[in-house]
């Protein structure tokens, strides 16, 4: 019980006391049936494992409520913590996809910024100005706006997909059975 309480440290107070309440009930009823505390604790399994599972659920739930970057990262981290296997199967694709999303944003924003660069060039070196630069930069900026809009939707899609995948993964990898 004490171990579980310690393992649950990462939870907010309210959740934590609720979880502990459930387990206290379990212990009390077990004792009433004439089992010893050791027996009950043994069949419950590792407190660390239980806490990990609950923490993952909690984290994923936070992302669903409010998908900030921090929440997403913590959820991914919690899911990875479920098993070594997940380091490969979650972390790899996650880093890859985040890079793609990030790259998309950088491209979009840089494209939009090109007319500014042309203006800078006019100020710094007015004698090299040609109209082609201006037209072309406006074209690129238009493209940039399209890319950015696309990325906006893409990111949303990515986020939703990620949440769904984390849920699925947590369900699959989560321990649960005796003698895993």
């Amino acid at each position: 019980m004490k171990d579980l309480s310690i393992a649950l440290e990462k939870f907010p107070q309210e959740e934590r006391s609720e979880i502990l309440r459930d387990f206290e009930e379990h212990f009390t009823l077990g004792l009433e049936e004439g089992k010893t505390e050791e027996q009950i604790a043994k069949s419950l399994g590792s407190p660390n494992h239980i806490a990990k599972e609950m923490y993952t659920t909690y984290r994923i739930e936070q992302v669903e409520g409010k998908a900030t970057a921090g929440n997403i990262l913590r959820a991914v981290w919690a899911v990875i913590g479920l098993g070594f296997f997940n380091v490969v199967i979650v972390l790899g694709p996650f880093i890859g996809l985040v890079s793609i999303v990030l790259a998309g944003w950088v491209v979009g924003v840089t494209f939009i910024a090109t007319p500014i660069l042309v203006l800078l060039k006019i100020i710094v070196a007015p004698e090299t100005f040609i109209f082609f630069d201006l037209f072309f930069s406006v074209l690129i900026a238009g493209l940039g706006i399209l890319v950015t809009i696309g990325m906006y939707h893409g990111t949303k899609l990515f986020r939703n997909g990620l949440v769904r995948y984390l849920k699925f993964n947590a369900k699959l990898v989560k321990g649960g059975m005796a003698h895993a």
Partner: protein, 104 residues
């Protein structure tokens, strides 16, 4: 038995038990562990998850002896979910059983 395999089944067991009547946590754990070898602690995370997904509601009920007990009650949403799971399970076991019959 294979770990992955039993995990999904545990969810099904909990839902099936609750479909008949409301239960409290300890009761659920005992009923399941009487039949299959589970690590009992994992039932509670499962209950929490299903509760948060809206498949259960909970209420506390005083008992004549001992502490008040937290009862779990299946919601309509939970019932729909259970029916989906049962169908999957049926199709799955039918398939496996046929393969076994052909094989042995």
């Amino acid at each position: 038995m294979n770990v992955q395999f039993k995990k999904g089944v545990l969810e099904l067991c909990v839902l099936v038990l609750l479909a008949k009547q409301d239960h409290y946590g300890y009761e659920l754990v005992r009923k399941i562990s009487d039949r299959i070898a589970i690590s009992e602690g994992s039932v509670y995370p499962l209950l929490r998850r299903l509760n948060k997904d809206g498949y259960f509601s909970t209420y506390l009920k005083e008992s004549t002896e001992g502490p008040s007990r937290k009862y779990y009650k299946l919601t309509d949403e939970g019932r729909t979910y259970l029916n989906d799971l049962l169908q999957d399970w049926q199709a799955f076991t039918d398939g496996v059983n046929q393969l076994i019959e052909e094989g042995v």
